[in-house]
């Protein structure tokens, strides 16, 4: 029988070997795959068992932090400023992560390979794992001013401010916003309630209007048309161009008219049969002049110029930005419409800010970005964003010409945005208003658009604002821009080191 017993021993040995090999496979090789398995409550809880990194503004205001509350879910994400920074930070809910919370999740969570060595040291020394801190380019003063001013309009809209020299985003606000604290709660019922409320709200508070909703740019697009015209070398701001009261568009059922159906009159063109300087047409925003000019330049040229300003392409800041569109137009009649920012033109408020930023930075458009740097738990800097050029929109000379026209829009008493001077406290602003018609047969409320930069001589901030249904750009959007510019310039002046 012993012969059989030895064989039985071998069978037992084989069974135990199988178990051992399988345990090694499951716990050693398959562990990573299992960690990502559906409904893995352990992985889920793990993210709350250590301190997730904070998100701070460039002026060191904490806008997202993890607070220790004890228990298995030891840390609770909290957003001290509530809804103001929501479009920037996004939220870190048990279901998903958006905004910077989503885009920089690996670093905030401390799971990024760049933190691996540090985590290993922590493991050995028994220190709890900690996430890295993300420092934004956002300035708390500018951001608060942007949100407050948008909120004051009571209308949905978005506002973005950029440092034109670097592309660093100084403010990125959207209204109506949401309270990310409500989505970060670990109370399942409260979370579901908040989630349902936000998702079902007709105001769409979760929509980031600054980068993920597009609006017709309206007359602000004349910056692009002018840029294309000046770049051709055939025009300067002082070139005189046909300024009819009505621009006949034979291919359409419409005629292009000026805002109040008046001739574009600088005193020399009372009947709408003559020419006016382009700088005058820009300052008072004559549609017929720029419609005709755009027609003359052609859709292809405008398309190229729009591309140079960053349109027609996806962008990451690091969150994905909806592309602003200027689709190629071949029909000259529709080209006229597209040249004044109507037809199929759509832009995000960020794109509006990029128009102004490019002109402010002598034609060089910097890649917009939100993350200034990432700081490891040991306070060493892990990542620093080096500003990079997105594109060369126009030559410095052309930028100077467009800038001169934009300055007139605000400075000249007849400029469309002159009313904002009163709110600026002496800061010089160059800008362009837009009043974009909307809806089928333009039955929708006009969207108010503004793009501009300040100070004119040495631009430090470029702003883009869209207020949906706000009416005249000068009425609804320019004050928002003025508020942001003023707040930020005051901030800069009060801290001289910057």
């Amino acid at each position: 029988m012993n012969h059989a017993l030895r064989r039985v021993s071998l069978v037992c040995l084989a069974m135990f070997l199988l178990l051992l090999v399988n345990a090694n496979y499951v716990q050693g090789f398959e562990a990573g795959k299992l960690a990502d398995g559906p409904g893995n409550g352990r992985t889920f809880a793990l993210q709350y068992q250590y301190q997730r990194g904070s998100i701070v503004t460039s002026d060191n205001v904490t806008v997202a932090e993890s607070k220790h509350i004890g228990g298995v879910y030891s840390y609770q994400r909290s957003y001290p400023a509530g809804s103001i920074y929501a479009p920037v930070t996004g939220y870190d809910s048990p279901y998903n992560k958006t905004g910077i919370e989503g885009a920089e999740d690996k670093l905030l969570a401390g799971a990024d390979p760049r933190l691996a060595v540090r985590n290993l040291i922590d493991l050995v020394t028994g220190k709890p794992r900690k996430g890295a801190t993300v420092q934004l380019t956002v300035n708390s003063v500018a951001q608060q001013a942007a949100y407050k001013a948008l909120k004051a309009t009571g209308l949905p809209g978005g506002a973005v401010a950029i440092d034109p020299k670097t592309g660093g985003i100084l403010a990125l606000a959207s209204y109506p916003s949401f309270n990310p604290n409500k989505l970060a709660t670990l109370n399942g019922n409260a979370l579901n309630q908040a989630d349902k409320k936000y998702l079902n709200s007709p105001q769409q508070p979760l929509l980031n209007r600054a980068i993920n909703e597009t609006f017709p740019p309206g007359s602000t697009f004349k910056i692009v048309t002018s840029s294309a015209a000046f770049s051709s070398g055939k025009y300067t701001p002082d070139s005189r161009y046909y300024a009819p009261t009505n621009l006949k568009l034979p291919g359409t059922t419409h005629e292009l008219i000026n805002f109040d159906n008046s001739p574009c009159n600088d005193g020399s063109n009372p009947t709408g049969t003559g020419k006016v300087p382009l700088i005058f047409a820009f300052t008072v925003s004559c549609n017929t002049v720029f419609g005709g000019l755009g027609q003359h330049l052609g859709g292809a040229k405008l398309h190229r110029q729009a591309n140079a300003f960053g349109m027609n392409r996806p962008l990451r800041i690091p969150m994905p930005v909806s592309p602003s569109n200027y689709p190629p137009v071949s029909n000259p009649d529709y080209t006229a419409y597209s040249a004044i920012g109507q037809y199929n033109d759509t832009v995000t408020p960020l794109q509006e800010a990029m128009f102004a930023a490019a002109i402010a930075n002598h034609g060089t458009l910097m890649h917009p970005y939100l993350v200034q740097k990432v700081i490891a738990p040991n306070l060493s800097t892990l990542v620093v964003t080096v500003p990079s050029r997105l594109s060369r929109t126009v030559s410095p000379a052309v930028a100077g010409q467009v800038s001169r026209m934009m300055a007139d829009v605000v400075a000249q008493p007849y400029g469309t945005a002159h009313s904002m001077v009163a709110n600026l406290g002496g800061i010089t602003v160059a800008g362009k208003t837009g009043t974009a018609q909307n809806g089928a047969n333009n039955t929708g409320l006009d969207d108010a658009v503004f793009t501009g930069f300040a100070p004119v001589a040495n631009p430090r901030i470029a702003v883009g604002v869209v207020v949906k249904g706000g009416g005249l750009g000068a009425d609804a959007s320019a004050p928002v821009a003025a508020a942001i510019i003023k707040a930020y310039m005051n901030y800069l002046n009060s801290s001289p080191k910057r």
């Binding site: 029988m1 012993n2 012969h3 059989a4 017993l5 030895r6 064989r7 039985v8 021993s9 069978v11 037992c12 040995l13 069974m15 135990f16 199988l18 178990l19 051992l20 399988n22 345990a23 090694n24 499951v26 716990q27 050693g28 398959e30 562990a31 990573g32 795959k33 299992l34 960690a35 398995g37 559906p38 409904g39 893995n40 409550g41 352990r42 992985t43 809880a45 793990l46 004890g70 228990g71 298995v72 399942g188 019922n189 579901n192």
Partner: protein, 496 residues
């Protein structure tokens, strides 16, 4: 054999020199070694217990003194009983069993404390605040049963007399849950009818049936092994038995299938049939029995997976454990009912989460796996002690099996041999079925993890099993009777 002399470890000792045999080469019982290893086991258990408390809430458990002392006294009591009742028994078995039992107690304490008394985690609804106390009580009963078996069974062959009595007892115990109404015999939520539950107090008769049937198989096969081994003809190099000798195999097969069908318990069914097959093989040394039996079982299991829903689902889950479970299963927002793979998936997640070194006792979340304190307790060890802990536990089981098989090889009489082989193999098979089940090696069937799982029957039966193995090894290692005459070179030769 005779040349081994005093270097043999007892079983092969030959008293070639009477004077030496009397004074020097008397085989050692190695009780001292057992005591040292037992102390080591107790130390590990106490350390683990303190560690669990520290891991949970940063404090050494308040019960450390009482529970610790109780456990130590219990195990030392067992040791003293062995010293008296089975002085030549294998010195490893008791420390190994004590270590497993103690670690099981520690894990049950840790699971019980989860979410209670201010400790982190969710409270496990299927455990009460006194589960550990109950388990310690069952351990006491187990050790008493261990001592009882050693006292009653002074010689393993004595059991041979009760072959058919114990066979009948085993069958009754096995069939009992199937005959009782579901309210008494069904384990809630599993569909398996394997217990007898009265007034909140439940036992699983199959655990004891296992022991009774092992004795029955051993006795029966010893009596019938010649005919089972020799008759028949060769086909393709395999000696096939005669058709009429197929009887016992078919009966055992039918009985295991009945268990499967009426108690919806493929694990127990596999356990009994596997034990029978191996004992049949050892008795007859005929590989054909193994082939026939294994094919029969596979056919039966396949048919059952098609016919019995409970078994079919297990197969589907085995193939895709994470597929069928609702993502938010078990949380506050349950929209879709949990499907049965939740448990297996959570167990696997726990094992994966533990990784190589584990989270440390008290730091994991084993409570996320339903019924982690019984069938899935190995996943709790895997989560908190890691692959290292699981491998250590498997090696402990492996050692128990090895010591059992060693006793089988060493013991002389065929009945004891068969019994030891059957008992050792059933431990191996049980560990294989449950650990393989929860680690997705084979389809999961709910049977207990010997010594570790919460529950009294399994623990008591396991202690009794260890007692039987120790008794057999004691018989095997017991020095041969002294030759009566001094003169001459009479040898006592042990036949194997």
């Amino acid at each position: 054999m005779s040349a081994m002399g005093a270097t043999g470890n007892g079983a092969g000792t030959t008293a070639s020199q009477p004077s030496l045999a009397g004074a020097l080469s008397l085989p050692r019982g190695r009780r001292g070694a057992e005591l040292i290893m037992l102390a080591f086991s107790i130390g590990v258990v106490l350390f683990a217990y303190a560690n669990a408390g520290l891991g949970l809430n940063g404090h050494v458990p308040t019960g450390l003194a009482t529970y610790g002392v109780l456990f130590a006294v219990l195990m030392l009591g067992a040791h003293l009983a062995v010293r008296k009742l089975a002085p030549w028994a294998d010195p490893l078995l008791l420390p190994l069993a004590a270590l497993l039992n103690g670690l099981g107690l520690v894990m049950i304490y840790r699971l019980q404390e989860s979410g209670r008394n201010g400790n982190p985690g969710n409270a496990i609804s299927t455990m009460s605040a006194s589960t550990t106390t109950f388990q310690l009580m069952w351990s006491t009963i187990g050790v008493i049963a261990f001592v009882g078996v050693l006292m009653v069974v002074r010689e393993p062959r004595m059991l041979q007399r009760y072959t058919y009595t114990l066979g009948a007892v085993g069958l009754v115990l096995l069939a009992l849950p199937a005959l009782l109404p579901n309210s008494i015999s069904e384990v809630p939520g599993t569909g398996a009818k394997i217990q007898v539950s009265l007034g909140g107090f439940s036992i699983q008769p199959e655990e004891f049936a296992k022991l009774a049937l092992a004795v029955f198989f051993a006795g029966y096969l010893v009596a019938k092994r010649d005919v089972l081994a020799l008759a028949g003809r060769h086909v393709l190099g395999i000696a096939l038995p005669r058709a009429r000798d197929m009887g016992p195999v078919l009966i055992a097969w039918a009985a295991s299938l009945l268990v499967l069908v009426f108690e919806s318990d493929i694990g127990t069914s596999a356990l009994f049939f596997g034990m029978f097959l191996i004992m049949l093989y050892v008795a007859t040394q005929r590989t054909s029995w193994l082939l026939i039996g294994t094919s029969l079982f596979l056919v039966g299991a396949w048919a059952a997976s098609k016919l019995v829903a409970h078994v079919g689902v297990r197969f589907a889950i085995w193939l895709h454990p994470t597929l069928y479970q609702n993502v938010f299963c078990g949380s506050a927002s349950v929209h879709v009912p949990c499907v049965p793979s939740y448990q297996l998936a959570q167990g696997l997640y726990g094992l994966g989460f533990g990784g190589l070194l584990g989270t440390g006792l008290g730091h994991g979340q084993p409570y996320l796996t339903p019924l982690v304190q019984s069938d899935f307790i190995i996943t709790a060890f895997g989560e908190e002690l890691g692959l290292t802990g699981v491998m250590a536990l498997l090696l402990i089981y492996g050692l128990i099996v090895q010591r059992g098989l060693r006793a089988a090889v060493a013991v002389r009489d065929p009945f004891s041999k068969l019994l030891a082989a059957g008992l050792a193999f059933v431990v191996a098979l049980q560990v294989f079925v449950i650990v393989g089940g929860v680690t997705q090696l084979i389809p999961l069937t709910g049977i207990t993890t010997p010594f570790l799982s919460q529950g009294g029957s399994s623990l008591v039966a396991s202690w009794m099993l260890i007692a039987l193995l120790m008794r057999i090894s004691d018989t095997a290692r017991r020095p041969a009777p002294q030759p009566i005459q001094d003169e001459g070179m009479t040898q006592v030769v042990r036949g194997i």
